[in-house]
């Protein structure tokens, strides 16, 4: 009896599975969601209040990074005042959530009109390839984005039509916020050691043993997220090769390679510094967030990192040196206009407003760095130093962006690989070989 009921159950189960299989195998996944190139018209003059008025009473739906919330508290009321028929409705997501869900949201039937992506293949590349975002060259032209201090910061949001290489091509996004890499230092510790703030990697290198011998941890590093190490690596690597070459590699330019003597030397340097104890011990078990918190409490002489870490530091105790030799740094998550939106005028007006000196000042006042630096001033010394670092680095043209933009899995491959190099488990040559193999796989 048990046997017959088992047989029946099996028959039922097999039947259900077969039915579902037939149902699901009607078409290849994604079929039917294919769309034509966005039809929308281009603009030839700035969007006016009257243009937006034509939309009637409307709501502009947006998705944004949680980090934008303080800034949005200033911008949204101003926007709604200028364009009274528009209500702004922003859904905030943590950065991790945003990058892992925004592409699917943009592809859905209820896509937000305006949203933030992230530079690189994982998000922006997918958006461009699937034609989910509107090209913005016309907006850039009439709004004057292509001139002034912010012009070069648009490059990482430019893509070829196929969505396979970036850095040049049509513009698909705009970020009003910039990021810069520098050397944060603990003023009192530096004073006790009798050192001047280092302004180059070479100067930093000569200071490290001094700090180490004095019993202080030279560099505070938290590398459990695997990216902080690659940022320092990038700062070292760029001192020995042209930023343009690194940018081409990150942008996916065919024929580029990571197996350069500069990268091998930089990996060697990381290994030597790690072995000498310049990063202290246990950095692989410490998150970047925990590391900056420890640095803020007085552990470590230097913190080599991006401007987003500055929010935790006070200007009384800490300073920032610019690294004009360059390294990581670029713009934050760019804003995009959905190719599906029927509120294009309002969406363009929104981007236009973000790219103004007024908002630039508000960005600085809320603790971040604007791409428009002309006429933006700061009362806080550390913030002023960060702004100077940004201006100097942009003037030097040495920012390379971020390595993990280049393929979707590069953060894991390079971040994990560098951990192995620093622990002395892999040679620098094998490291560059592995990274290049992943790059080739991602760009075939």
């Amino acid at each position: 009896m048990r046997n017959t009921s088992t047989v029946r159950l099996t028959v039922l189960a097999v039947g259900a599975v077969a039915t579902a299989l037939v149902l699901s195998s009607c078409a290849a996944p994604g079929a039917g969601s294919a769309r034509d190139a966005p039809a929308g018209s281009t603009i030839s003059s700035k969007v006016s209040v009257a243009d937006v008025q034509k939309l009637g009473k409307t709501t502009l739906k947006m998705w944004a990074d949680q980090a934008e919330e303080p800034l949005m508290k200033d911008v949204v009321p101003a926007f709604e005042k200028t364009y009274p028929n528009v209500t702004v409705d922003i859904t905030y997501k943590s950065f991790d959530d945003l990058v892992s869900t925004v592409v699917n949201a943009a592809a859905s039937a209820s896509a937000p009109d305006v949203f933030q992506g992230n530079i690189g293949y994982a998000v922006d590349g997918a958006l461009v390839k699937a034609k989910l975002v509107r090209p913005l060259d016309d907006v850039a032209k009439v709004s004057g984005w292509n001139s002034g201090t912010g012009a070069s910061t648009l490059d990482p949001a430019k893509w070829n039509a196929a969505g396979t290489t970036f850095g040049a091509g049509a513009l698909y996004g705009m970020s009003p916020i910039s990021e810069v890499q520098g050397i944060y230092y603990n003023k009192s510790k530096l004073g006790a050691l009798g050192l001047q703030p280092p302004t180059t990697i070479a100067e930093l290198e000569t200071d490290l043993p001094t700090a180490e011998k004095a019993g202080m941890q030279p560099i505070m590093l938290g590398n459990s997220d695997q990216y902080a190490g690659t940022h320092i690596f990038s700062d070292i690597a760029v001192t020995d090769q042209t930023p343009a070459g690194i940018r081409a590699w990150i942008g996916g330019k065919s024929g580029s390679t990571f197996e350069t003597s500069g990268n091998v030397k930089a990996a060697d340097t990381m290994k030597v510094w790690a072995k000498a104890g310049y990063f202290g011990s246990g950095y692989d078990g410490l998150s970047n967030q925990d590391a900056i918190a420890k640095f803020a409490k007085g552990d470590g002489v230097f913190f080599v990192g991006g401007s987003w870490n500055g929010a935790s530091l006070t200007s009384a105790e800490f300073g920032l040196s610019s690294l004009t030799s360059g390294g990581v740094g670029a713009t934050a998550s760019p804003w995009h206009i959905s190719s599906k939106t029927n509120k294009t005028a309002a969406a363009i007006a929104w981007l236009d407003m973000l790219h103004t000196p007024t908002v630039g000042q508000e960005i600085l006042d809320t603790g971040r760095l604007p791409v428009i630096t002309d006429g933006v001033t700061s009362k806080d010394p550390l913030q002023e130093e960060t702004l100077t670092a940004l201006k100097e680095t942009i003037a030097a043209g040495t920012q390379v962006g971020y390595y993990d933009w280049t393929t979707t899995d590069m953060l894991t491959v390079m971040g994990g690989g560098l951990q192995e190099v620093m622990a002395g488990r892999t040679s620098s040559e094998d490291f560059t070989k592995t990274v290049q193999a992943a790059w080739v796989k991602g760009h075939k």
């Binding site: 009896m1 009921s5 029946r8 039922l12 259900a16 599975v17 039915t19 579902a20 299989l21 149902l23 699901s24 195998s25 290849a28 996944p29 994604g30 079929a31 969601s33 294919a34 892992s100 592409v103 699917n104 592809a107 994982a122 997918a126 390839k129 699937a130 989910l132 590398n223 459990s224 997220d225 695997q226 011990s281 246990g282 950095y283 692989d284 078990g285 410490l286 998150s287 925990d290 979707t408 899995d409 894991t412 971040g415 994990g416 690989g417 951990q419 192995e420 622990a423 488990r425 892999t426």
Partner: protein
């Protein structure tokens, strides 16, 4: 006892009502009653599984039209040395996530059932607590505990074992076992509660009989408690093994697979392929393989822990004890 005897005779000699119900076709006539549940199950469980299986045969980025890939995604699963290493890590985690919790659970349950402890409910609740906590909370808490300047190292330094202090999750050699021990801490409470519930159903007279026969606590545990807990051990193993093989959240929130690739597991790659690399076909293939592996391991466990004979479980241990008792 009488109930069991009755059932056994019913099986041997089918009675009237039993036959009749069989003639009317119990399965098909009852179908309308289970149809809502079956439909729910088909839509929310079977259908997604089928879509996963289907997707695994395509190259699909989740946006543009997929192209048929044949078995290439499956070939990649087995050819990728990183994935093989990840599977190896999972097997080691089985020891920490399944074997250790079951052993600790048995030990605690055995002790708690024997010794009368005041405030037993409180202890039980406290020991079960790790199971209730969100795994992100667990991960963040343990990240702090195991940090190079965390409480674990503080303790080691204060009892003269400072030489062993290390950044537990940041060290290539200790990261995986450390995560394993976090898993042990999460899972043992579940095992203990399962076993305690099982122990309650054991006839106390068996223990009295054993004690009269001069059995000590250890003998009592192995002769009565452990055999009677066979079904609970089986369930505990299935739950913990499934947890071990599909574990993702603990690892993602402690090490993200690092340092290097020392704590990667297959489900980590499922996540990375699906949400980071936008290779949904590859992610689905890996998920399908992982599901099959879990099913196979669970089947092996069920066979291994199964009662050696086909008799109803409780009766057998009962009868054996009684037989042993009367023979004496």
């Amino acid at each position: 006892m009488t109930f069991v005897t009755h059932r056994r005779s019913a099986v041997a000699v089918p009675t009237g009502p039993r036959r009749r119900s069989r003639l009317t076709g119990p399965t098909w006539s009852s179908l309308p009653y289970v149809a809502p549940a079956l439909a729910f199950f088909a839509i929310f469980v079977i259908y997604p599984i089928c879509v996963s299986v289907q997707t695994s045969f395509y190259n699909y980025d989740g946006l543009t039209v997929a192209t048929f890939a044949g078995f290439s995604n499956y070939v990649n699963v087995f050819a990728d040395s990183n994935l093989r290493a990840a599977l190896g890590h999972s097997l080691l985690l089985l020891v920490f996530y399944a074997a250790l919790p079951v052993c600790i659970g048995l030990l605690l349950a055995g002790a708690m059932s024997r010794i009368r402890i005041y405030g037993l409910t409180v202890f039980r609740a406290l020991l079960f607590l790790p199971q209730i906590l969100s795994s992100v909370v667990v991960a963040v808490a343990w990240r702090g505990m195991l940090a190079s300047d965390g409480p674990v190292n503080w303790l080691l330094r204060h009892i003269g074992l400072g030489a062993f202090a290390t950044s537990w999750l940041g060290n290539f050699n200790t990261a995986l076992p450390s995560i394993g021990l976090i898993g042990t801490w999460v899972e043992y409470g579940l095992c203990m509660v399962l076993f305690l519930a099982g122990i309650v159903t054991i006839d106390r007279s068996l223990y009295e009989a054993a004690r009269l026969d001069g059995a000590g606590p250890v003998r009592e545990f192995f002769a009565i408690t452990l055999p009677a807990l066979r079904p609970q051990v089986s369930i505990a193993l299935i739950l913990t093994i499934t947890f071990a093989l599909r574990n993702f959240d603990l690892i993602w929130n402690t090490t993200r697979g690092g340092p290097g690739t020392s704590t990667t597991v297959p489900s980590l790659y499922v996540y990375l392929d699906a949400f980071q690399n936008r290779q949904l076909g590859q992610a689905s293939a890996l998920a399908v393989v992982l599901t099959i592996i879990i099913l196979i391991v669970v089947a092996i466990v069920q066979v291994a822990v199964r009662e050696p004979s086909a008799h109803p479980r409780r009766t057998r241990s009962l009868r054996r004890i009684q037989r042993d008792g009367s023979a004496r």
